[in-house]
């Protein structure tokens, strides 16, 4: 009889992911007037070392979907291979039917949940956005298969730092400019407070017209805040 310990594997010669190696941090996605906007920085952390600085963590999937990932980068790239295969076979039918964001999101949820059932998870939190037939779609899946849709979603630290901002400031009919501004505000907060975040990010857009992923750029920062320069001021006794 295999014990749970056995299922989880021992440290020496495990064929499963026991902990991630190279990871990406938060992804944020929001609905706006014409579709979905998503943003993620391009850092790839090796533990606490910032090892890679040009990792693309958002990719288009077929005609109607956009996928962003945080967590293990290699697992994300494996997921992209699964989806490339799926989309290829979908296109080969050439019959006027195609997978929309809802189908892709469900398929990803099945994959993530199946792998957790095998105690061999894909170590990612995924954000899936898309537009098909005038319908906007934004959802997320975690590495154990927890999934939901919302008007704005975020993974990892984004859940703690970005979503409270989004809950205050998001509205249904944000223009593209307003939406980018809102995402940049969130990313700036993450940059200040999430040590894995780096100041090189991309913004991806998906509308009825298709996907565009921006060139990498950086945000203007201001490190002269009093609390940054003298963090212990006003907190007597702390170091």
């Amino acid at each position: 009889m295999t014990s749970v310990e056995g299922l989880l594997g021992c440290e020496q010669d495990s064929q499963r992911t026991l902990s991630p190696y190279v990871t990406g941090t938060s992804v944020i996605g929001i609905k706006y007037k014409d579709g979905i906007l998503m943003t993620a920085d391009m850092g790839g952390s090796y533990g606490s070392t910032l090892r890679y600085k040009s990792v693309e963590r958002m990719k288009s999937i077929g005609k109607h979907s956009l996928l962003g990932a945080s967590g293990e980068i290699s697992d994300f790239q494996e997921i992209l291979r699964y989806l490339d295969e799926l989309i290829k076979y979908d296109n080969m039918w050439d019959d006027g039917n195609s997978f929309g964001p809802k189908e892709i999101h469900n398929y990803l949820t099945r994959i993530m949940y199946n792998r957790r059932n095998k105690f061999d998870p894909l170590w990612n939190s995924l954000v899936l956005g898309g537009v098909k037939n005038g319908q906007k779609y934004l959802g997320t899946v975690s590495m154990i298969g927890v999934h939901f849709e919302d008007n704005h979603v975020a993974t990892g630290f984004g859940n703690h730092l970005a979503r409270p901002i989004l809950r205050d400031e998001w509205k249904e009919d944000l223009s593209y400019e307003e939406a980018v501004k809102l995402l940049e505000k969130c990313m700036r907060v993450l940059l200040y407070r999430d040590r894995s975040a780096i100041n090189k990010l991309q913004v991806a857009k998906i509308t009825e017209e298709g996907v565009t992923i921006s060139q990498p750029y950086s945000l203007k920062t201001f490190w002269g805040f009093n609390a940054f320069q003298n963090p212990s001021k006003g907190a007597e006794g702390t170091w």
Binding site: W93, D95, G96, N97, G100, K102, E103, N106, Y107, R110
Partner: protein, 261 residues
Amino acid sequence: MFRNQYDTDVTTWSPQGRLFQVEYAMEAVKQGSAAIGLRSKTYIVLASVNKANSELSSHQKKIFKVDDHIGVAIAGLTADGRVLSRYLRSECINYSFTYESPLPVGRLVVQLADKAQVCTQRSWKRPYGVGLLVAGLDESGAHLYYNCPSGNYFEYQAFAIGSRSQAAKTYLERKFESFMDSSREDLIKHALFAIKETLQGEKLTSSICTVAVVGVEEPFHILDQKTIQELIESFEIREEEVADEGAAMQEQSPEPAPMDI
């Protein structure tokens, strides 16, 4: 005497390039009682003739719901038809489990055709002896397909299979140009008229036919007998009465086909 040497198993070619076993399977379709289908842009109607084996028995079911958006009508070996509809149902359920959306009809039909084709190329198998009219709706619109025991499949505006289906086909060929923009009720009317053609003078009643509909905003369902009877009466498809009472007398209702028993 002469005996066909090339028809004892499916995998043997005749010198003329024919596969007799496959052709025999297609003959089985012709012997089953008729099934017809027709469609507009947004609706598909299936109808079948139900022949009971005897006065004492009920008839075999010939129209099956596959999913909310797909249904089939069959002619030929009903037992094979049931097996295939079960396959179709499970494919639909599996697809919607993975994607939470309905399986496109055209894709289901290809899977079904591939399954039939395998039986024409294995020495230890026999072809399915059933023809299926697959009616369905997906994002590319309304569809009607015919699946043949040979593994071939065809898309139609309107089609009829089974015994004396030629009469129904002639009727449908005469009328099909108006089908695309027809209303749901008109499609049902044409379906009943087409069915009537296959009866060769026998009276059309709700007890010897089944009608099913699928369309935009209308999940596939089989109409109940009462509704069909009312429709038959309202369309006045009833026999033109006394006019040829004599003729009707001699036209004993034909024997049910061996395939339906």
